[in-house]
Symmetry: C3
Subunit: 262 residues, 3 copies
């Protein structure tokens, strides 16, 4: 009945057919047997850094303080892209410096950032050029969970030097009624960039010439009918009661969405 | 080398592309750091309450006494459907009152049922209308695992008021030789409603004008050949040795199956 | 902050739609509450013993000594195929004797092998004929993790009697420049049988009349371009930077690949 010494979450684009995720957990088990690993998801489409950033932003804050979030969506593995570790709000983040932390950087304050260039914390001093998840990120996360302080894992880097995705982490503050679809989930629900707060009594979203009325829940409309609602992650979303809005609207990430207060 | 304080299993239709399941585990880790979470499956097709009921019925009894089974297949989230917690046999069950517990209610005795209407056990007093898994079910499961008794989680509800799926949990006892396909698994094996007990020496199942001979195991017939056998969950099933009976027979849940003792 | 008493990894072809994997974990939790289960993968295509062997070979050595690797890819369940437990290198392996351990047997020394014919360690003395994962393999793994020695789990069997896949675990040592694709991963990367060591300064692989230049990492070539590199598991591999080599080359396991040192 004791706590794990730390939680390490895993978010990758490794999919579910290979044992790659298992290998990350094996490396962590070797170095940090008392840490507990938890999967965020491994179903990020290959190399989809923007979706990884969204999923991480949506999930990270729901974990205990001190949780280490390990992200391996890493098309630039083995190139000059940096391997980094960040202290953002109450959590740690480890992964490639390719923009995957854009979402969480927009939410909380960055207090420390290092480049993971100290091979003594790696799985091997001669890492492969195609699996830094196994050779660098997982072992560094494991050592961090065992009490090695962040500043010993590598060289400090200035916050403004981190790679960030553009057009993702912020909204033009002068045009709060114009947004776009920033993510589409497994149910086909369309997550917009429009914040779900201070909503008027009646409102709607406009997507592709369709006016979709805002309602309190999916079942407030008949089955098969579009519905807009304040999503659970702080943004307005578009759904179909019992159906799939992505298919219904032939919607894509980036599609324009307009808010109207009536 | 200590036990977890409790096991909490997770069964959802969240799929594997989003971090929703990870969020449930994060919320549980915050409230119940000594509990261990185990995934039953998150591959239930969206809103398929009947399949969720079957999977839960198949799996629940194989866990230690006191295990908490958390089910989030919840198309009515945010509507008037109730959030409930049940004590059935040696296990606890938490989820929406939409019929998803029909299978386990048919197997074991219900001893206590409450409606989860006490916000002090929720993740937030103002839950979203689209993610009760995060805001109500997971935190309540976590508190239950830490020793909060069921009767403190909500108001008692009468057992006969629970929503149950029809045509699922029982068979006409006068017609034991007529059944239907109640579930189809990942291998394409067809699970019937016909009980696998007291079988005569030779028997067969009839599906769509095909007579499929009962045999002791898949490999008792040549590769690519249909075979009927007593499945591992107590029901007769139809399979193809090395193949996929769902595709072979173009079978669907609900298809009629007849048992013959020869 | 204590270690688990042992790690038990799970590798199956059960997929992610059913609760079968969850059932294995429930059985283990009942018998070995202090063991920790970790998923290698459950996405092995149904009955694909060769891919299971490759995934296990790739992953097994990255776990702590004493780890128990439980493999259930078992088309012959219920037939005369043997259930076995092996001690190979520092790890234990439990599963059907159908060739699934060919890869790990080629890597490390087998020191003990038993046939799992002692029903006192099973989940039930009368196991089903279709789910030995639940009825034999998982409970035996759980007992092994609790300290029951291997020789008590069954009758010793001679090492040369184990089923092995042919054409998988070795290469003609006189023809080191000829190989084939032995596995294809989720990213569409093509894993060859050609060892990734002692590479000359310039080299290439030839697949289907295409000459693919060896480079240090994926991003060493423009997006959408083929690249060969020394893979992270000790073999040469073929990839597309930011793309999918399986689709690009219409490649299949078994396709011939030739190494050239220039």
């Amino acid at each position: 009945m004791t706590d794990p010494s730390a939680w390490i979450t895993l978010l990758t684009d490794f999919g579910y057919r290979d044992a790659y995720v298992g290998i990350l957990k094996g490396v962590i088990a070797q170095i940090a047997p008392t840490a507990a690993t938890l999967d965020l998801t491994h179903g990020i489409p290959p190399q989809d850094i923007a979706l990884a950033s969204w999923q991480l932003q949506m999930a990270a804050s729901h974990f205990p303080p001190g949780t280490i979030h390990l992200v391996v969506v890493d098309p630039g593995v083995g190139s000059r892209r940096r391997a980094i570790a960040l202290h953002i709000g109450p959590h740690f983040f480890i992964g490639p410096d390719n923009g995957v932390f854009t979402g969480v950087l927009s939410q909380h304050t960055l207090t420390e950032a290092v480049c993971l260039n100290h091979p003594e914390w790696w799985y091997t001093p001669t890492p492969s050029n195609s699996f830094h998840g196994r050779d660098i990120f997982a072992p560094v996360a494991a050592h961090l969970s065992q009490g090695v302080p962040l500043h010993r894992l590598g060289t400090p880097i200035p916050p403004d030097g981190l790679v960030r995705l553009t057009g993702f982490d912020s909204q033009d503050p002068l045009d709060v009624d114009q947004g776009w679809i920033q993510a589409i989930d497994h149910f086909g629900n369309l997550m917009t960039t429009l914040p779900a707060m201070a909503l008027p009594p009646t409102w709607c979203l406009i997507l592709k010439d369709s006016r979709i009325q805002g309602r309190p829940c999916y079942e407030a409309v008949p089955p098969g009918t579009p519905v807009a609602l304040g999503g659970s992650h702080g943004y307005l979303e578009i759904a179909i009661n019992g159906g799939n809005a992505q298919y219904f609207f032939q919607a894509q990430v980036g599609d324009r969405v307009v808010f109207q207060a009536r």
